[in-house]
């Protein structure tokens, strides 16, 4: 099956916590997943399913209950703490806002497992830190305090820190949370570039399904009873995404690659028009609860036309004809008619 030896592989992994009374609290069992060199893996699943616990276990931050985690064919438990820190780095959801901590100093903390007792940076270390900052797109930010940069820049600084740590595997817990849309795309683009250009295995959890589907090489879909893994397209074609929100109203749209709320249609309406004007008028009509059909035999017909940024809409309802210059006006009018 596998064409290359996986960098990270789990065998019958069971994750969870050991409670004070020595009882086990199992979060998830029978985990058999893998990630290859240079792969960007997105971990997707609902809140509370155990994504963070899985990532923390893979990052050697907590012990597994049973089973194996193999890093380059070596059991993770056989690695000393410092050795593990040289192969896996981690970015948590916890925001770092330490006053007076400069971006350069934060990134150079990534050299921790490689430097001497005093943490002295040699010329080689400094070069690596500078290179990490460049790869994360933070040139010119070296002397800025991390408490005074934006959330996205801070997240990039945390990623730069993992680069300075020079690990083959980078694990990030929801790196796109708290970011605005361009910020989310930027982070995932950087992760994608890093996986492709540096051959690192990068694993991240996210709720931004759309971005994950477009950018990740592999998806670990963490359902309550099993983890399904494969290329995002495989999961779309086999209709596995629909299983995530099975108990909610959300439906997975296989064309858009995203979840949508289903709409109950109050009526039908005919639409004629072309291109973008037609596409967006369709969206507007569906939003107000009208199913769009070909103009042909419908009782009510919308004709839309856009030229040089001017929208022209004609509505024929029975014998009445109306004209509108914006979709907003049209939707107000239609809402009035169909609420009767």
């Amino acid at each position: 099956m596998e064409y290359t030896e996986p960098v990270l592989l789990t065998r019958d992994l069971e994750i969870g916590f050991v409670l004070n009374n020595h009882k086990k609290k199992i979060v998830y069992s029978d985990i058999n997943i893998s990630a290859g060199k240079g792969e960007l893996v997105a971990l997707i699943g609902r809140n509370g399913v155990g994504k963070s616990t899985l990532l923390r276990t893979l990052a050697n931050l907590q012990k597994s209950l049973s089973g194996e985690i193999l890093i380059n064919s070596t059991d993770i438990n056989e690695l000393r703490r410092i050795e593990a820190a040289r192969v896996i780095s981690f970015v948590s959801t916890e925001p770092i806002r330490i006053a007076n901590l400069k971006v350069f100093d934060l990134v150079s903390l990534g050299r921790f497992p490689h430097t001497n007792w005093a943490g002295r940076l040699k010329q080689h270390d400094r070069k690596l830190v500078q290179e990490a900052i460049r790869l994360a797109g933070l040139e010119g930010f070296e002397q800025k305090p991390v408490s005074e940069i934006s959330d996205g820049e801070r997240q990039r600084a945390m990623i730069a820190r993992t680069l300075a740590q020079e690990t083959g595997i980078v694990i990030l817990d929801e790196p796109t949370a708290f970011l605005d849309l361009p910020g989310k795309y930027e982070i995932v683009r950087i992760l994608n570039d890093l996986a492709t250009n540096t051959g690192k295995t990068i694993i991240f959890s996210t709720h931004d399904l759309n971005i994950a589907i477009h950018r990740a090489d592999k998806i670990w879909l963490m359902l309550p009873d099993q983890i399904i893994s494969g290329a995002p397209e495989d999961l779309v074609l086999t209709d596995r995404f629909a299983d995530i929100f099975k108990d909610s109203e959300l439906q997975f749209d296989v064309h858009k690659g995203d979840f949508l709320l289903p709409v109950d249609f109050k009526g039908k309406i005919g639409l004629s028009g072309k291109g973008l004007a037609r596409l967006w008028t369709t969206k507007a009509l569906e939003r107000i609860g009208l199913q769009v059909a070909e103009a042909g035999k419908q009782e009510n017909i919308v004709a839309v036309n856009e030229k040089n940024g001017i929208i022209q809409i004609n509505l024929k309802t029975g014998d009445k004809k109306n004209e509108f210059s914006s979709i907003y006006q049209l939707s107000l009018y239609l809402k009035k008619i169909f609420s009767r």
Binding site: S89, K102, D105, A118
Partner: protein, 353 residues
Amino acid sequence: MTESKNIQGRLLSRKHLLIFGVLLIALVLLFLLDLFLGSVRIPFSEIVRILISGEGKEEWVTIIYKFRFPKAITALLAGVALSVSGLQMQTVFRNPLAGPYVLGISAGASLGVAILMLGFSSLISASNILNIGNWAIVSAAWIGSGIILFLILMVSMRVRDIMTILILGIMFGSATTAVVSILQYFSHETALKAFVVWTMGSLGHVSREQLQVLSFSVIVGLGISFSSVKLLNALLLGETYAISLGLNVKASRILIFVSTSILAGSITAFCGPIGFIGIAVPHIARMIFNTADHRILLSGTLVMGGILLLFSDIIAHVPGYDTILPINSVTALVGIPVVVWIIIRNRKYAAFS
């Protein structure tokens, strides 16, 4: 661009060196000024001459070497030790208001001294209270803080959450303080006064032999502190990141707790609990050096701590008068404005998470 690349990541920038230079000069000047103040007026030039050649008017040489010099050194050591342990506690607990006594070290020392002075006062006659040897007080304080340290270390071996350790430290401290209050309630007036005087702190009761012990302890404590700068830097990011960088968090905490206890514990044993220096100085150092790197911050805090306690001691002498104020009140009056200012400017200089 190439120039800025060379500056990036160099440990000490030119600016930092300049600041260190200025601070060291201030430290030396304050040290000399501290020697200058006292009930007997000795000309400044004579002090310098006595210090350099060891010769001068016999009476003055005695005053300088027997009294003022040990006291100034004690002030220096106390300032350095308390500030460095304060810095360590603020980093380990990721709390800007943590200080050397957050682990309950001062409460433990008070309990030791209270049991000695107040508890035994019912056994020995009241007139003998004041004859309790200096060494006995020091030992009692050391034992008291040692017991609290032991409890804290036991807790930190088992508990991982740093906030739990912080809360337990505060609880141990409060429990000890409660016991001390009970002892105070049942004790003789003379014993009570002697104890209250101890709690006010004093830099002047350290004999030359004791000073040797104190210096040795502080040097050992500082040695451990300097050897843990890398650990402190990693702990700055919090436990999760510290582990992911390959740090043994429990062992590091224990190492740092041990050095804090040696530093703060010895100072408390010899000088009584001296407040606020340990909380205020690290913040001043952070602000002056504008860095979070402990390799610079630790040295900066150390020098700044010496400066601030020498300054407090000079104020305690009320230049021009023969009165000496209790050092603890002076450090509080010097330190509290700083702490207040930290709270007001919290977002900028003391945000830890």
